[in-house]
Amino acid sequence: MAAVQQTIEHVAEVERYKHGFVTDIDQEFAPKGLSEDIVRFISAKKHEPQWMLDWRLEAYRRWLVLDEPTWARVNFPRIDYQDSYYYAAPKQKAQLGSLDEVDPELLAVYAKLGIPLKEQEVLAGVKGAPKYAVDAVFDSVSVVTTFKKELAQVGVIFCSMSEAIRDHGDLVRQYLGSVVPVSDNYFACLNSAVFSDGSFVYVPPGVRCPMELSTYFRINAAESGQFERTLIIADKGSYVSYLEGCTAPMRDENQLHAAVVELVIMDDAEIKYSTVQNWYPGDKDGKGGIYNFVTKRADCRGDRAKVSWTQVETGSAITWKYPSCVLRGDGSSGEFYSIAITNNRQQADTGTKMIHLGANTRSRIIAKGISAGQSSSTYRGLVSAHPKAKGARNFTQCDSLLIGKHCAAHTTPYIEARNASAKFEHEATTTRLSDDQLFYAMQRGLSREEAVQLLVNGFVKDVLQELPMEFAVEAQKLVAISLEGSVG
């Protein structure tokens, strides 16, 4: 009851989208449009080595001959790729010596978003609260990464991608594009050509990363796209938990966010990757909002490697995203826990791919979709077992909840079994909130709104449990806010 009340109060205190502010900050842009020169511009701005520029140009040339895919169940007007800025960065004063030299306006942005960029702020928090390091990406560049020194002591590399290309070129060169090849798909290819920044993580063998790592993505500039690239490598026997958050200003235009995330997991290593996606979803008539076209893939290269994707998708006008697991190593396992909430005119086509290549690989998919307003939510997933994936096991559950007469929920699972010992189970349901349950809750004194919150929280509980503690509380509130006003 207390939690419900807190949620209600929280809903009351925020506007519909509290991250919708724009920061007036001195920024520099690449000229509008996309060409080889823009690719060179981005590479030069980042002082990249020649091999990186060549890689980008190769990607750009391949992108030119690819066609934009149309198979997802989403509708939007054709994107004019020439009508956007591909590089936008806050102007910086020479090289930064310490956090104190970061533009105070930028710091204010993150303070407003509740992201601790000062290490002492994290430390000054509640006693016993877990520490987490942050890489803050603002439009096309990473502005600051915290706790780098402390992480370096145990050998963990956590920095922006631009820095990694400069300082850890060999590692980047070895792994970049090895999970999501340059021309994997249209948007990944575009990203490969123009990616600006993102996070790079390397956890050495046997190291359990001492704190949660997180990246916070912020789009600020108008008419720009954000193309970040994240690469995480967990070497043998290591462990890392990584969180990702994102917000953008409220604008009437649509902005493109096409990211690529690559995870490499070696023998006995584990990566836990959590996302709370809260891009601006557009207004209630569907005007504005972010197009979130993201390629995320984990490659379990070693035996007994483990990866777990947890996502809470509440934002974006359009979400098009399938975090995948390639289970290559024998005995490796993949998990996917997802909550996708759409309201008003949002559209989401999301799910996962579990590709079983090694023997005795296991995977688990729990996907919960909630549609309200006039929105549409699709679960699309693939589970496949290669002939060599003896003893592969999968369990999939996808449930959809419909709130209101004008929303839509779809389930499109693909199942491909190519050997006799694979065992796949899939179940899916689509229902609305149960009248009986609502009646029961209201009969005990809850208002309709409270009763709905309670039932919805119960519906998504399985997934919320998988989130790191501090994220779970945030996510629970986010679920409530996203559905605000949808109860008739």
Binding site: W71, P387, K390, S400, L402, I403, G404, K405, H406, C407, A408, A409, H410, T411, T412, P413, Y414, I415, E416, A417, R418, N419, A420, S421, A422, K423, F424, E425, H426, E427, A428, T429, T430, T431, R432
Partner: protein, 345 residues
């Protein structure tokens, strides 16, 4: 884009390919490099069909030649054997027929797809309308040759209060697609769509269904089960669409398959596409091997392994066959199943 259009125009680019999302597991363009010559005309069949003796009326379409319109008058009850035969000299042809079941009538439609020839390429298109309160039970034995390519498509239009029950039994072909499209008005109409596939060697069968609920208060119940052995490939694609306003729809879909060989494959796509909120829709899908413990139990009791396997598989698939309402047809279906399992233990 369809096989029928490719056959009638001779234009192979009209064939669906892997790049078409609905055909990704049943590629025709990559398979058919040259179309065989058009099938010559034939009248009548020389041999009895699999449902011989059960029907009070028989319609035979050989190499695409035969009666094109079948009508069951209002209130009438009929058991009709409809035989699509690809004769020994069959090449490429399209066979078409339309069936009208008038208000209040009851039709048991016993369909057989008989392949006397070998490497024929055919499409069979059926347009069926079931009027108000009428009942249609379709039992189909798709007996294509192992070198044959076929697409069989039925478009079934149901009126309020109509009942459709369907069971497809197949042992596949070189490439075989069995499509059923149902326009479901809701309105107390009810649909049962079942399928059984038993595939061995290099056979392929694709059971694709689309049920579109346009109005409120409709029921759909789907159950498909299959067994694949050798290098065979079984495909199940089921889609249930609930249109805006089709509230109180009760739809369930189940697909369960056994993979008996490491070179066999099962692909499934059970889809729900839902635009109304007051519905109860669910689907379940499982793919796995035969349960070792059940096998052990049977062998422990003195049943030889091969026999125990056939028995377990028979029980697994028998659940679908038992749902056939027409007694005679159910008997034929059971015999068909025993024959398939007997030859492929």
């Amino acid at each position: 884009m369809s096989l029928a259009r490719a056959i009638t125009t001779g234009d192979l680019t009209q064939l669906p390919s892997r790049r078409d999302e609905d055909w990704r597991w049943s590629d025709l363009r990559g398979l058919i490099r040259v179309l065989p010559a058009p099938s010559p005309a034939h009248i009548g069949a020389g041999t009895p069909g699999p449902f011989a003796g059960l029907a009070n009326r028989e319609v035979v379409i050989v190499n695409g030649y035969g009666p094109a319109a079948i009508k069951v008058a209002a209130g009438e009850t009929q058991t009709l054997a409809l035989r699509f035969i690809a004769a020994r000299d069959a090449g490429a042809h399209v066979a078409r027929a339309a069936i009208e079941v008038d208000a209040g009538a009851t039709l048991t439609l016993l369909e057989s797809y008989e392949g006397e020839g070998t490497d024929y390429v055919v499409e069979r298109d059926l347009a069926i309308s079931v009027a108000k309160g009428a009942r249609l039970e379709r039992v189909i034995i798709a007996g294509d040759d192992q070198d044959a390519v076929s697409v069989s498509r039925a478009d079934i239009d149901l009126s309020p209060g109509a009942t459709l029950a369907q069971t497809v039994l197949t042992h596949g072909g070189k490439r075989q697609r069995l499509e059923t499209h149902v326009a479901h008005p809701g309105a107390e109409a009810s649909v049962r769509l079942d399928g059984v596939y038993v595939l061995g060697a290099k056979r392929h069968a694709d059971l694709t269904t689309v049920v579109t609920h346009a109005g409120a208060n409709g029921v759909t119940d789907q159950l498909t089960k299959g067994v694949v052995n050798g290098q065979a490939r079984g495909v199940f694609q089921g889609r249930i669409v609930v249109s805006p306003g089709a509230d109180q729809t009760d739809a369930k879909m189940g697909h369960h398959a056994l993979v008996l060989s490491d070179r066999a494959e099962v692909d499934a796509k059970p889809e729900l596409e839902i635009y109304a909120d007051d519905v109860a829709c669910a689907h379940g899908n499982t793919v796995g091997a035969l349960d070792d413990e059940s096998l052990f139990y049977a062998r422990q009791r003195g049943i030889p392994e091969a026999e125990a396997r056939a028995m377990l598989i028979g029980a697994f698939l028998g659940e679908v066959v038992d749902r056939i309402e027409h007694d005679g047809a159910r008997g034929v279906a059971r015999a068909w199943l025993a024959e398939q399992l007997g030859t492929r233990p």
